[in-house]
């Protein structure tokens, strides 16, 4: 496995467990902010905080404002559109959903709207995703419900899109377009939904449910805005695969056990998050073909942060001693990546 040289790498110990983190689109021209969902095990307090992020030789995260939630954060998303005020959406393990509006001047929380627990889902919300323009949010849970939450001026409104009554447990969700989204669940299964065709998923990838012990769970999905027909998923046993809606029964396996010799296995633990890697050097630009899956960044339970490319050796960026629970790539400066580490710390790195 190749390793990538880093221009900068820092581990910032926190005194709280980091459940989720995201770069916030720039609120102003000079400041950079990171939003962090954290859990203080000493006081049992959970909160969402905005930290000013200062990437110098000794980077710092300075807490600007925080919002206390009743339970730990299960999923955290921000709208990625720049030039408009960002929106933060968070779901909790108790089942509540919060939408926060940060103030662009001092990064405080201007207002918050939420849906209490036991309303959207029975039990935890396993994942949510926010539409790019911040107008709607999809939430899924292990209880088998899929909800659409519309974010309007008057508050939040929600609608149940589907309820499998526990037959299917959903563990991941991602918008593809203003009307379509994908979900993932047990048995490496994926579902494609279209709001114009209600009643159930439009198409399904069954995965390898019946494969017994090697079957896994999809933990994270990403869809690239330029290739909406391809759904990228990462899950148990180091599995990373792309599901092309045009060739539904043949997933492109990028990593995982039981795969052919041409794909190498980056990790054999759970892949917690996948994201298309937007950072490109000029040489990698040349290699992009519309046939291939775009480069993918993954983080895993055994502490690997890596970039996986179809048909190439994966590039390892970090190999930590503890799990990397989540990461985020800065859309504005794609060379910068932040990760949350299991041992109560945040890693910050800049790629050369």
């Amino acid at each position: 496995m190749a390793t990538e040289t880093l221009k900068q790498f820092h581990r910032l110990p926190q005194s709280t467990y980091i459940d989720a983190l995201r770069f916030l689109p720039p609120l102003s021209a000079f400041d950079r902010y990171v939003v962090v969902g954290s859990f203080n095990s000493d006081t049992d307090e959970t909160s969402i905080g905005i930290h000013a992020f200062n990437l110098t030789d000794a980077p710092t995260l300075t807490l600007q404002s925080s919002f206390t939630t009743s339970s730990r954060i299960s999923s955290l998303k921000v709208t990625q559109k720049s030039l408009q005020n960002p929106l933060i959406a968070a779901s909790t393990f108790a089942g509540s959903l919060h939408i926060l509006f940060p103030n662009p001047i001092d990064a405080s929380f201007e207002s918050e709207v939420s849906i209490p627990e036991k309303t959207l889902h029975l039990g935890p919300i396993s994942c949510l995703d926010l539409q790019e323009n911040g107008s709607a949010c999809v939430s899924v849970g292990e209880d088998g419900r899929v909800n659409l939450i519309s974010v309007g001026d008057s508050g939040l409104d929600y609608r149940r899109v589907f309820d499998s009554k526990g037959l299917v447990s959903y563990t991941a969700a991602r918008w593809a377009s203003p009307t379509e989204f994908a979900t993932g669940g047990l048995g490496n299964s994926l579902q494609w939904w279209d709001q114009r065709r209600p009643g159930g998923p439009v198409s399904q990838f069954k995965g390898n449910w019946a494969a017994g012990a090697s079957s896994g769970i999809v933990h994270s999905i990403d869809i690239h805005p330029s290739r909406k027909h391809t759904c990228l998923a990462g899950g148990s046993y180091g599995t990373v695969f792309a599901w092309d809606l045009r060739r539904q029964q043949q997933p492109i396996i990028l990593s995982g056990i039981g795969t052919s010799d041409t794909t190498s296995n980056i990790s054999s633990s759970d892949v917690w998050e996948v994201q298309y890697d937007t950072f490109m050097t000029s040489s990698s630009h040349a290699n992009i073909s519309s046939e291939r899956v775009l480069p993918v960044m993954i983080c895993s339970e055994d502490g690997i942060l890596a970039v996986v490319k179809q048909g190439e050796e994966p590039t390892e960026i970090l190999a930590e001693n503890c799990a990397i629970n989540s990461f985020d790539i800065d859309r504005q400066n794609p060379s910068d990546v932040i990760c949350s580490l299991e041992w109560e710390s945040i890693a910050i790195l800049t790629r050369a």
């Binding site: 292990e142 037959l167 669940g185 047990l186 019946a210 054999s268 633990s269 109560e344």
Partner: protein
């Protein structure tokens, strides 16, 4: 506990041990229930340091619960505040940082140890020791760096000449203790420089000893506070005392800095106090030229380094000769400032090793001990002679309640591993002792035997293992550190794996995150049966709580045939029942999830599902094609030998409307005959005692028979 003897307070005990009487802690319960509450509480241990308390309301009021909409009881988790692991590191987050950081050095060293053990079995050669001590030193340095650094805070560029002591972060005694162990056990290469290392050690940590008694450090702190208000320092006794104290423990940079505050350096004084200034400067230069037997000196420290003993000897003799020469110099007569003259001479005496003056200048025995190394016996080597010297210093400067670091020093010098262990355990807790045993056993066969010998009174495990188990227990008691415990448990030969299994079984695997963590740990340590059990528990939990899909998923992952079969049997209960569309959807979904693997006749269920589906389509409209299809699948399923006999009647009863189809008869003559034969077979079977009656109306059989007969009649007419 090893090292603790019974009968505390007894003079024979190695380490004084007094079980401190503690006042009972009171925790209020916030249950939020309306009284009356039963006096009964159910208390059990939850994960980690929490108790699970179930509070019940009185049974008399339980009957009214329904109306009031109030619950009959509540389960509360009560977090007990743990005892401090170390008195100083009270900040739990900081403590966890040390815990996290020490994992990889420890695991790394264990791997190396195992690899070397395997290697030496092959070759049984000796280079082991050199190599090994290198790893141990590396390990020790890694751990040491976790415990904080003594780097001074970035001070302003312009140095204040009146700031004598550098503004450093408060050192921790945990780090001080670790460094002591490192000096004596890990750093084999610089063994000959132990005295100089101790000098450095005291420089860093003398402030820690200030708590109970005065120290040179506290004297300097006091003096520095006075310094701001003092005009002519050389007239103050405190000034000279601070200098001689600092000199006696070897803080040469501070001494020189203080000397240069002497009034004779001031420009307006130069003319009148030239000789005096010359003498002060001469002493300062001599001090800064002191030979030190060490490889190098950190920045800002003074002295001349001598790498080997013969070089040092020569330099030492030369330096002493220079001091003596200055002492006898005629310039002293020309020095008019009495205090300066006396005190400078005093300093020379310190450098010449005058025991009385040294004893006055130092505050406690460790300082005096360091002074001995510096000025009286620079060649002291070997633990035995160092121990004798320490005893002598203690006699000269006895302390009533020795600091824990002092006790540790004595333990180390006395080469008594048990005392060291007991001191570490008493003062610094299980983390320290678990990690320090690696240093104690490095190259020390006696200690290794003591620590690794299996002991009957410890249940057949060694002291080392028992400490690791205790530490793993501490780790297990916290939600964020329990996943580290396996690394320590797995290094325990005897009970490690057993306790690891217990730890894993105790985790609440119905939280999917915990379950996944559990599975991952099992994967790493090849505990397949444990992970299968965890999956089974999670599967049953999910099934019971309505998450049928994930219930089946985890049972399948666990390969739990027994429970999957039971689920399959449950699915059979639907056969022949008239069920709503919604529950049929559920049922259909479950069959889908169960897969096609032949589990208890699932194959039949799949066929039945197809049949049922086509039957539903028939109900929706009057499409004859669909009805014909349904009829065909009925025949197929009845023909199939895997269809259990008990479902024959329900199947036929289900498809009554096919048999009595309004249009043309759906079944031809042979098909009708086949079904009639099956019905006959069933009537015979009914007479057998083991026949299980299905819950159908009593007239079901006769009405099916009648319908079939009618259909047969119509079919015969059709075919004519």
């Amino acid at each position: 506990m090893p090292g603790l003897l019974t009968g505390s307070g007894d003079s024979s005990s190695l380490v004084p041990f007094s079980p401190e009487p503690s006042t009972p802690a009171v925790y209020p319960l916030h249950h939020g229930l309306k009284p009356p509450i039963t006096p009964r509480l159910s208390i059990s241990w939850s994960s980690g340091n929490s108790l699970r308390v179930s509070v019940f309301r009185s049974p008399e009021t339980a009957s009214t619960i329904g109306e009031e909409g109030e619950v009959g009881g509540k389960v509360i988790e009560l977090k007990l505040s743990g005892e401090d692991v170390d008195g100083e590191v009270t900040d739990a987050a900081r403590w966890r940082k040390i815990v996290y950081g020490s994992v990889s050095p420890f695991a790394h060293l264990q791997n190396k140890k195992n690899a070397m053990a395997a290697f030496s079995e092959l070759r049984s050669s000796a280079p082991y020791n050199v190599e090994w001590s290198k790893y141990v030193l590396e390990y020790s340095k890694d751990i040491n760096s976790l415990l904080g650094n003594n780097k001074s805070n970035p001070s302003s560029l312009i140095e204040d000449p009146r700031t004598v002591l550098k503004n450093v972060e408060e050192p921790s005694s945990l780090k001080a203790a670790w460094e002591l162990l490192e000096i004596f056990y890990a750093n084999k290469q610089s063994q000959s420089w132990i005295p100089e290392q101790l000098v450095d050690w005291l420089t860093d940590y003398d402030s820690l000893l200030s708590g109970k008694m005065p120290t040179v450090h506290s004297r300097l702190v006091e003096f520095q506070a006075q310094l701001i208000n003092t005009q002519t320092v050389e007239n103050e006794a405190a000034y000279w005392q601070a200098i001689s104290s600092a000199l006696s423990v070897g803080w040469l940079d501070i001494v020189v800095k203080l000397l240069r505050l002497h009034g004779s350096y001031q420009l307006n004084q130069l003319g009148t106090r030239e000789t005096e200034n010359g003498l002060v400067e001469a002493v300062a230069v001599l001090i800064s030229k002191m030979p030190r037997m060490r490889a190098d000196l950190p920045d800002g420290k003074l002295g001349e380094c001598c790498y080997n003993k013969s070089d040092f000897m020569k330099a030492w003799e030369k330096w002493r000769a220079q001091i003596t020469k200055l002492d006898c110099s005629a310039y002293w007569l020309q020095c008019s400032h009495h205090q300066t003259k006396e005190n400078l001479k005093n300093l020379l005496q310190i450098m010449l090793g005058n025991i009385n003056i040294l004893s006055n200048a130092t505050c406690h025995w460790v300082e005096l001990y360091i002074a001995h190394f510096l000025y009286i016996r620079p060649f002291t080597s070997g633990l035995e002679s160092m121990y004798v010297l320490a005893q002598k210093c203690i006699q000269l400067k006895p302390t009533s309640s020795p600091h824990k670091l002092m006790s540790l020093i004595i333990g180390i010098l006395g080469e008594n591993t048990e005392v060291i262990l007991a001191e570490c355990s008493k003062s610094f807790g299980p983390w320290m002792i678990t990690h320090a045993t690696e240093l104690l056993t490095a190259g020390n066969i006696q200690a290794e035997i003591l620590l690794k010998e299996e002991r009957h009174n410890l249940g057949g495990i060694s002291i080392e293992e028992s400490h690791r188990l205790v530490y793993a227990q501490v780790l297990s008691s916290h939600a964020l550190t329990w996943q580290i415990a396996p690394i320590y448990l797995i290094s325990c030969m005897k009970h490690g794996v057993g306790l690891l299994e217990i730890l894993l079984y105790k985790q609440p695997v119905y939280h999917s995150q915990v379950l996944l963590k559990n599975i991952e740990i099992c994967r790493l340590y090849e505990l397949d049966s444990v992970s299968a059990n965890a999956m089974k528990i999670a599967g049953v939990h999910n099934w019971k709580h309505g998450k049928k899909g994930s219930g089946i998923f985890w049972l399948q992952q666990a390969g739990d045939e027994v429970r999957l079969n039971r689920i399959a049997q449950n699915l059979f209960d639907f056969v022949g029942k008239s069920i709503s569309d919604e529950s049929f959807e559920q049922w259909e979904g479950l069959i889908e999830l169960m897969g096609t693997e032949s589990k208890g006749g699932l194959e039949f269920l799949h066929k039945y599902r197809d049949f049922k589906k086509s039957l539903q389509q028939v109900q929706e409209g009057v499409v004859t094609d669909a009805a014909r299809k349904a009829g065909e699948s009925l025949i197929l399923i009845m023909k199939n030998p895997s269809t259990p006999q008990r479902f024959w009647l329900p199947l036929l009863y289900d498809s009554m409307k096919l048999l009595t189809w309004q249009g043309a008869p759906l079944l031809n003559v042979s098909q009708s005959n086949l079904l009639l034969n099956k019905l006959q077979e069933l009537s015979v079977a009914r007479l057998r005692p083991d026949f299980v009656e299905v819950g159908l109306p009593p007239h079901a059989l006769s009405s099916v028979r009648a319908a079939l007969a009618t259909n047969l009649g119509r079919a015969i007419l059709e075919e004519c």
